[in-house]
């Protein structure tokens, strides 16, 4: 689990080994909108870094910087201590950063197995006869999903016919299978019921146990707390803090996210007059 790579860059002071992915005070503006400002955190192998924040806090913008969709206007990224820049999602993927976007990046009309290998299709044959190895693709899809406990009826089924949780699970399995070192999940649980959210959280734990560094975005502290090793709190594009697990409680996170005073006020407001 520890990094044995030589780390020529400035390593994190305390740990001694460079983290898998380090975010150094990144910022991003869209025209006049400051979407993100001076946000830093680290992602370590075998750990889950949770990014928490309300709607519009800049969570999606943050992970789009990590995954190469956006380039930061300020700050930088480092992998294993070495500074990196991603000009496109492809470059981030090649560096081992796989992202399950909020919209899942799946093509609803395409079969599960085609989606599973989209962008990384295995091929067989040579020269002009090089072709998409569909037999292997179907086989691997079935096996990999099975290994994660996802019982798909038929890999030929279009992804659009799967339920929300099933689709989320396929997207995670896809990212894990394609050799991701860092797995980024944008609000994988927000559209799900309690039971399906539990299934997805279990996949996150599984990916973590396989030694991946996981970045888990959510606005629900109850989903973040059980799996998180590190918590980055965002509010209106700024970092409210970047805590390790022992440094903060669930209630503190909740109250910081909502703004403690605001939440107390809300609780007061919602109380029944009779109680």
């Amino acid at each position: 689990m520890t990094d044995t790579l030589p780390t020529p860059g400035a390593a994190a002071a305390g740990a001694g080994d460079a983290p898998l992915l380090e975010v150094r005070s990144v910022g991003k503006t869209f025209g006049s909108v400051i979407s993100l400002q001076d946000v830093s955190t680290v992602v370590r192998a075998g750990q889950v870094t949770c990014v928490l924040g309300d709607n519009g806090a800049g969570k999606s913008t943050f992970i789009k910087i990590l995954s190469g969709v956006h380039q930061p206007d300020s700050g930088s990224l480092a992998m294993n201590g070495q500074q990196v820049t991603f000009g496109s999602p492809r470059q981030a993927l090649d560096a081992g950063i796989a992202t399950v976007f909020q919209d899942l990046a799946m093509i609803p009309l395409m079969a599960i197995w085609r989606n599973f290998f989209l962008g990384s299709e295995p091929t067989t044959g040579w020269g002009p006869f090089r072709r998409f190895d569909s037999a292997t693709a179907k086989e691997v899809t079935r096996r990999e999903l099975g290994a994660m406990g996802i019982d798909i009826r038929d890999p030929d089924q279009p992804v659009g016919t799967l339920s929300g949780g099933e689709r989320q699970s396929v997207a995670i399995a896809r990212a894990v299978y394609h050799g991701a070192k860092v797995l980024i999940l944008d609000e994988p649980t927000s559209a799900l019921g309690v039971k399906q959210a539990g299934v997805v959280l279990r996949y996150i734990a599984q990916a973590r146990d396989r030694g991946l560094g996981v970045v888990f975005i959510t606005h629900n502290p109850h989903h973040a707390f059980p799996v998180g090793d590190r918590f980055l709190l965002l509010k209106r594009g700024r970092s409210l803090g970047d805590f390790a697990k022992g440094e903060v409680t669930r209630d503190e996170i909740t109250s910081m996210m909502a703004g403690g005073a605001e939440l107390d006020e809300l609780a007061h407001e919602l109380e029944r007059p009779g109680d």
Binding site: M106, L109, G193, K195
Partner: protein, 363 residues
């Protein structure tokens, strides 16, 4: 908001995926199976349509079912088909090319002008024509990718420009609206063998374009269903942003598709030029809609991401059979368009159902 699964109708079924197939799992397969069959076979509707039309005309016209009749209706189907295949690939990739029709004219005229006016050999003219076609295709694709404007409007622009160029340049070179006499130039005989000869099968001469059409159908199906590029075509048309996010080179795919359409237009234009040896400056105009209709009848969704090359070929076959069939029956040819309009509407309505079904479970 809690998301229910597709199996919401069964109160007993657990929505979360329990490992290991249970009895309930098998039930679900059966329920989805029938609908899904319609989905994975975009060309099914066109196949049924083609069979109905074949039986309809064959029953009423002996000329139609005669082998010489067959050769006759396969001929228009072949040139439309070659274009419809390319247009279908492009539509699956999420785009239209309104310049596809006029481009067959541009390429045919280029062959004519390069030989008769610039004294090139026929093969050199054909090569120049290909280079021009690929450049136009590249430009169409590049503009679409760069501007992110609908391909509909971009290619409407190139359609009008090419229409003007076809007439303007033909007049400038020849002083008339026709280029003729291609057969007087070197290489005509071998070019004719490739593009415009006939092949005798069972005592009947068939245009060689029919064989090319079959070959291209097989090739396009193979590329679409069995190669990485094919997967990218479906993905780019299905959801461009999503496919880019998982590393699909969407821009390259789109440009390649536009260039493929242009290459098909080059092929068909060359067939025209070599076959007739004299080319009218207005040739090909209006055909682009016929290609699109054939592709839609063949199961291509107007929204992209779904369709088949075989379907587009069947759509073209429906065109060929209807066109010739109506003539054989001695009907007024106006009925041809009524008939096609009806086919198109039917196809679009069917496609709509497909799309709805596939998206019905989206959260």
């Amino acid at each position: 908001m809690s998301t229910s699964t597709t199996t919401a109708a069964e109160p007993g079924a657990a929505p979360s995926p329990p490992p290991g197939p249970a009895g309930a799992g098998d039930e679900r397969v059966a329920r989805v199976g029938v609908l899904r069959k319609l989905l994975v076979k975009p060309e099914l509707g066109a196949l049924i349509g083609a069979l109905v039309i074949l039986v309809f005309f064959a029953a009423q016209s002996s000329t139609f079912r005669d082998i010489s009749g067959v050769a006759n209706w396969l001929d228009p189907a072949s040139t439309i088909g070659i274009m419809a295949i390319a247009v279908a690939l492009l539509m699956i990739g999420g785009h239209f090319d309104l310049s596809a029709g006029v481009m067959t004219g541009t390429t045919a005229l280029t062959v004519g002008i390069c030989t008769t006016q610039l004294d090139m050999t026929v093969w050199a003219a054909i090569a120049v024509s290909l280079a021009i076609a690929l450049s136009i295709g590249f430009l169409n694709g590049f503009l679409v990718v760069r501007t992110k404007l609908p391909s509909f409007i971009i290619t409407l622009g190139s359609f009008l420009m090419l229409q003007g160029l076809n007439l303007g340049l033909t007049k400038a070179f020849t002083g008339t609206v026709t280029v003729g006499g291609i057969d007087d130039y070197d290489g005509y005989d071998s070019a004719r063998a490739v593009f415009a000869s006939t092949v005798t099968i069972a005592g009947q001469q068939f245009r060689i374009a029919i064989l090319w059409w079959v070959l291209f159908t097989v090739l396009a199906s193979y590329v679409l269903l069995r190669t990485r590029f094919g997967n990218w075509v479906f993905a780019t048309g299905g959801d461009e942003v999503a496919s880019r996010n998982v590393g699909v080179p969407a821009a390259r795919t789109t440009i390649t598709l536009f260039m493929t359409t242009a290459a098909a237009a080059w092929f068909v234009g060359t067939v025209y030029a070599v076959r007739t040896t004299s080319v009218q400056a207005n040739i090909g105009i209006g055909q682009e809609l016929i290609y699109i209709v054939a592709a839609v009848i063949g199961g291509c969704l107007l929204t992209g991401g779904f369709g088949s090359a075989v379907g587009a070929s069947l759509g073209a076959l429906i065109f060929g059979m209807t066109q010739q069939g109506i003539t054989y029956l001695g009907w007024d040819t106006d009925w041809f368009y009524f008939f096609l309009g009806a086919m198109l509407l039917l196809a679009v309505l069917t496609n709509q159902v497909v799309r709805r079904y596939a998206e019905s479970a989206r959260a």
